[in-house]
């Protein structure tokens, strides 16, 4: 669980990789590295490396297709990461409210003393 989350965030912290992952998500038929390279600003070789990182983070799977490898987005790892994120977000909302409450209490107490 922990490893999945940190792999996913590390994989998606790179904007090029995030863009490739989004393209994969939108295509039910997946893409080969060559297809992705057609409208990318980086080389096919760079794209292959990015796809490997996405695969390691379990954000993509691949199937061999003749001489090419076709990549598909998987959503399970991303879903795990977004649950992690949602849990943390709720915890921080609670903490921020507690901090504000603490300051409000001590300033009103001081006001009463004056």
């Amino acid at each position: 669980m922990s490893d999945t989350v940190s792999h996913v965030f590390a994989a998606l912290s790179d904007p090029t990789r995030r863009g490739l992952y989004e393209q994969l998500l939108e295509s039910p038929n997946g893409y080969t590295a060559t297809e992705l390279a057609l409208n990318a600003s980086v080389s096919r070789q760079a794209i292959v490396k990015h796809l490997q990182v996405l695969s390691l983070a379990m954000l993509a799977t691949s199937h061999r297709e003749g001489r090419e490898v076709r990549f598909f987005a998987t959503s399970k790892a991303a879903a795990t990461a977004s649950t992690w994120l949602a849990d943390r977000a709720v915890a921080w909302d609670r903490r921020v409210a507690a901090l504000e409450r603490g300051v409000r209490l001590s300033t009103s107490r001081r006001g009463a003393r004056r």
């Binding site: 669980m1 922990s2 490893d3 989350v5 940190s6 792999h7 965030f9 590390a10 912290s13 992690w84 994120l85 943390r88 977000a89 915890a91 921080w92 909302d93 903490r95 921020v96 507690a98 901090l99 504000e100 603490g102 300051v103 409000r104 001590s106 300033t107």
Partner: protein, 109 residues
């Protein structure tokens, strides 16, 4: 790596007062200990259990940075910054997961 969670708020007190509130662990959880020395270990207990933490940076009235983890959750780094805004203080909080290499060197896992 970019922040994953970011929160900003303004407190109606000076940075030095805000600093005292920030260093009082009861807002982070039910109970805990936030040391003032970089490298020192502390903890915060909340409904998720005990978060063990290691202080990374202490810049009085300005900045407090630590990394923390529970036994079953990925370690992350929390940065809390205080910025004076007239007679108020802006607090900026960010939490980002540590990458896998950093985890190995932490001794967490």
């Amino acid at each position: 790596m970019t922040d994953i969670i970011h929160r900003e708020l303004e407190l109606s007190c000076s940075p030095s007062e805000a600093w005292e509130h920030v260093l009082n662990p009861t807002w982070l959880g039910d109970d805990g200990e936030l040391p003032m020395t970089p490298g020192a270990e502390g903890w915060v207990r909340d409904e998720d259990g005990v978060h063990y933490l290691i202080v990374e940076e202490v810049d009085e009235n300005e900045r407090y940075v630590y990394r923390w983890a529970t036994f079953d959750d990925a370690p992350s780094r929390v940065e809390i910054e205080l910025l004076p805004m007239g007679d108020r203080t802006r607090i900026s909080i960010s939490e980002s997961p540590l990458d896998v290499r950093a985890q190995a060197s932490l001794g967490f896992q």
